[in-house]
Symmetry: C2
Subunit: 422 residues, 2 copies
């Protein structure tokens, strides 16, 4: 069978089954999630064995250490996935929320309700935990899930999807709402991205290249996630010790993720006091520093090793312990720098001056602005969404972390007594 036929069959099965999910009660959906958690716990040995095969193949293929780290499952990681499923079961039902209700003068009652998208495709890389996280969020939000993970994780994903599907036993909801898409051939991705009419939404989750490729090649609606060239701007009015803590947390807490900072912008009015502090703190934390000329002069004076930044540095998402540092002439120049090099993800300001904060929050165009807080807070869990399926840095539909509510769309129900339009 060619990829288009495979996807068409899989998506049709999921679509046909999806009404058993979209019309289910939250109790029915939560019971499935709890059973998935049970199944993961009970079958951890089986899951670990499958993962070992993937790991052996990955090593034999000479796959990088960091990719191997992502691929690896441990008992703790499996228990974390199970705990995650139980947590999501406890969250409020994202479906059937009345978003707007109005009674019109002509007697019509108008309600805008949250409803599932229908069939959602996920395209992701080697992390097998995404298989469980995505399935659990999509089930809770009433969406059928077409899961296209990396070939590298295929054995792990097969067992995980078996465990997930087994959890539907005895439920009114059909197990066909969760489908694993074969990953032995890249053509299944293209077929998924062009299955308009069968698939309602595709979400890429992974590196910049994966996301770009999905968004550019998809005729199905997509939600663009992820690329994060995030900045920390330290204003002359900042509390400098807070600024250091925020800078180090933003850069070093988890450098590989999209809400990590890539560039520090320092108000030139405090370059004498703050720049040496910041450079020393970064160097102590093992961060490679790329900087502009004024900053380099200060670094050289205090014997902190730095490289001169190139034009390309400023738009690079390092995903690692590496940063850019530039001096700017106050908040407006910081905003101009961000407009030129940012990715509309998360921008942070450290300041006490209300006018600087106001300019920063109103003139930046991005998904999230942190005022005296770490860029790392742009996160569904941290923001109280309970879970997230990715972080959107597009302006349509969802902007910022996407939790359960963002995995729904709406329908208008207009109820009348025979009203016609005058």
């Amino acid at each position: 069978m060619d990829a288009t036929t495979i996807i068409s069959e899989i998506a049709s099965k999921a679509s046909a089954a999806s009404t058993t999910l979209s019309t289910s009660t939250r109790q029915e959906r939560d019971l499935v999630l709890t059973k998935i958690a049970d199944g993961l716990e009970k079958n951890s040995d089986l899951i670990l064995k499958a993962n070992q095969i993937d790991m052996q193949n990955a090593k034999a293929a000479g796959i990088s250490q960091s990719l191997q780290d992502r691929l690896l499952l441990t008992t703790k990681r499996i228990m974390d996935m199970a705990a995650g499923a139980r947590e999501i079961a406890k969250l409020p039902d994202p479906l059937g929320r009345v978003l707007i209700e109005r009674n019109l003068d002509n007697g019509l009652n108008l309600k805008q309700l949250s409803v599932p998208f229908g069939v959602v495709g996920m395209v992701y890389e080697a992390r097998p935990n995404v298989t469980v996280d995505a399935a659990v969020i999509l089930i809770k939000s009433g969406n059928a899930a077409l899961l296209r993970g990396s070939a590298t994780a295929s054995e792990s994903n097969k067992v995980l999807v078996d465990v997930i599907r087994t959890a539907f036993a005895g439920s009114k909801i059909s197990q066909e709402v969760v489908q694993l898409i074969p990953s032995d051939d890249r053509s299944t991705v293209s077929a998924l991205l062009t299955a308009k009419g069968l698939v309602d939404l595709v979400i890429p989750r992974g590196g910049a290249e994966l996301i770009r490729s999905v968004v550019e090649n998809s005729t199905v609606a997509t939600i663009e996630t992820g690329a994060g060239v995030c900045h920390v701007y330290v204003d002359k009015s900042a509390d400098l010790s807070k600024a250091i803590a925020i800078l180090i947390n933003s850069k070093c807490d988890r450098p590989s993720v999209c809400n990590a900072a890539e560039t520090l912008l320092i108000d030139q009015a405090i370059s004498d006091s703050f720049t040496p502090m910041a450079l020393k703190a970064l160097a102590e934390a093992g961060v490679v520093i790329n900087c502009d000329l004024p900053t380099k002069k200060i670094a050289d004076q205090i014997a902190v090793a730095t490289k001169l930044a190139t034009e390309q540095s400023w738009s690079t998402e390092y995903g690692d312990l590496e940063i850019n540092v530039a001096q700017v002439d106050g908040v407006l120049e910081a905003i101009a720098h961000i407009a030129k090099f940012g990715t509309q993800h998360t921008e942070a300001i450290v300041a006490k001056d209300a006018d600087a904060i106001s300019k920063f929050t109103t003139l930046n165009d991005c998904a999230a602005i942190m005022v005296n807080a770490s860029t790392r807070f742009t996160d569904g869990g941290q923001m109280g969404f309970g879970a997230e399926i990715g972080i959107s840095n597009q302006k349509m539909h969802a902007r910022g972390p996407m939790g359960l509510e963002q995995m729904t769309t709406t329908t208008w129900i207009v109820s009348g007594d025979g009203q016609i339009r005058q």
Copy 2:
């Protein structure tokens, strides 16, 4: 200059000016709208003269009567545009709404605010009033407007955009936020659709072919509007006289628009009583009837002229006084028919039975469901939005009528006191 350079220059001008709009107060924006209304009223002679040139060219080019009707401006139509601008000035500010506010345990304050998209492109056809309607909605919602109308209306659009831009005199908001894109060459459309990074959103407004072409060729985000194959299902539990009124209003009130009905589905349990009533009422209203075999038999018995529907009839948006009629075995078969041939726009049920209504509202996948009301109510004005820029029948971002609120996106503002992620 080639089209890409033209669009790049126009969009850059609009983008640079857009912060004067996004940071303006509602009073400043409303004053511009009021001045646009004044300008339209004062310059109606000038506008009519320009429109006469377009009309003469259209006639000389042998353009169809219905297109000429759309192109034509009259004093009343100009006064209606002015009145529309004044109405929109009175509506609540769609910007700066606090959509979510939370205080987190770690002391962070979290706000989700509504903000403009930035630069919005409109691609539309020969109706010059869209130039004013779109500009007014986009100004009110803080978005710079790139207006690409039809070449057929180019003289009218030039004068209208002059009137609009003149209204910014004396305002802090730059007139550069409204730009007319040259329409003498089709390549400006392609250039607009691929100006990613300069344009935040493109909305097509017009026929199915225009919409498909924009959505398929755009690398900029688009909102798909319009195609409406809407159904009226009459259940055996219906009040038949209300059903007739709803049917005739849905089909005949304004057959050219997307929320007009294209297909009547009759519960076979009432075909003896309702089908003859419906066929007679449609015929009296001058509606051409395409029907299935059971309906045709009834039509022949009562001597109402009908054609046998083809497979293609059921998915045709007539946009005219023409309809399909089919008999179905209850609400579930109606829903199956709609799933096969509908466009996820608006579906209506006429029924008293709560179970039939519940099935119809939960099992249909569409933007709006009318219960005992005309399909014509899927409309921003009718639903109390005050104005609409189109009707979205996609599931992302906006679904159904798009008013001012739908022309905004969001940003998260997270305010702290030095919080870092633990």
